[in-house]
Symmetry: C2
């Protein structure tokens, strides 16, 4: 019961939440939902990292966004409300914990707490913004720039552990494209390549 959005609830609801809700472990690799799955509740992420991705009919994938500590799976709200299945897939990347908020409790929280409503709406707005940015990026930005930016933001001590396939799925492109662009970066002396690992970034 550490999710900040629950702190904002009036005492009665908060008590109910503390009584009924259980934290749920998120082991690495666990699939929170898959395309077509009905919505079984609203996940509140307490910690760890969950990536949300789509798979095209061609088998190509792209990561839409990530949820981290204290995030709310806004995507699920739409399913919760419309009753339609999820369109994307959510997979745990770093283990953590989550709370599954059932529909009824969610509705009561929305009714009772202005702060809760504000939290939900803000989180929605951020998600829309993310997706609009992603559309622009996919539609208009060059792959070499996007790759370099991705390497820079995800580098840990100038190093990343990921296969070319992993990176291709992040950016929504093909493995061969990533391989070629990385090779070119290596020729320029800007990275060092090894199996499943890229080092010497920046």
């Amino acid at each position: 019961m550490k999710h900040p959005i629950l702190e904002t609830l009036p005492p009665l609801l908060r008590q109910e939440a503390e009584k009924t809700l259980r934290t749920m472990p998120l082991p690495v690799g666990q699939v929170l939902f898959s395309p077509g799955d009905p919505c079984g509740g609203l996940p509140l992420v307490l910690g760890g990292s969950v990536k949300v991705q789509m798979t095209a009919v061609s088998g190509n994938r792209i990561v839409l966004y990530r949820m981290g500590a204290n995030d709310i799976c806004t995507l699920s709200i739409g399913c919760l409300m419309s009753g339609r299945g999820h369109r994307a897939e959510a997979v745990v990347e770093e283990s953590g914990e989550a709370i599954m908020l059932p529909r009824g409790l969610f509705d009561r929280m929305m009714a009772a707490s202005a702060a809760f409503r504000a939290g939900i709406m803000t989180s929605y707005g951020l998600r829309l913004d993310d997706l609009m940015l992603l559309v622009e990026e996919v539609a208009f930005r060059r792959m070499d720039e996007r790759l370099e930016q991705w390497l820079a933001t995800r580098a840990n001590q100038g190093e990343i552990h990921a296969t070319h396939q992993d990176i291709a799925e992040e950016l929504g492109t093909a493995r061969e494209v990533v391989s070629r662009l990385l090779k070119e970066l290596e020729r320029q002396g800007r990275v060092v390549l090894a199996r499943g690992r890229i080092s010497g970034i920046k």
Copy 2:
């Protein structure tokens, strides 16, 4: 005061809404908001058609989605809540009317009416879905397929009035690409091209 989402309000709020809210004309070409604009309220579209688009630094454009009769500009809610400016631009395509719902009234409606809340959340969910679909389309689908689908869905009596530039901005591509693909369709006898007009579709 004909927007269906207002019908769901409790009598008191509904009276307040009817007293304070004015319908606002939406003449063709009017810009509802531009990138960076702060949010001056939540637009409820009563009729007509409004397109929401982004412009990249390169000058390239892409249409994200359209709002029609009874739609709510979900995009504005995020700005309303976070206080950040809009990321996209909204332009009236077919004239109509709208209501501008100010922040305070919106908050009270969210507090008072479960049906209003449900309407807002559902509309949000649909918008997210649209954008996810768009990401997949832009990232993975072939331009010739997307163009043909666009022609099919927008054809009126097998005819469309639009320049190649217009179509390119719909699909997030370059004018030359649209010109070439259309020329190829014409060679196949599937469309007839004229200045500013495409006919004989399907």
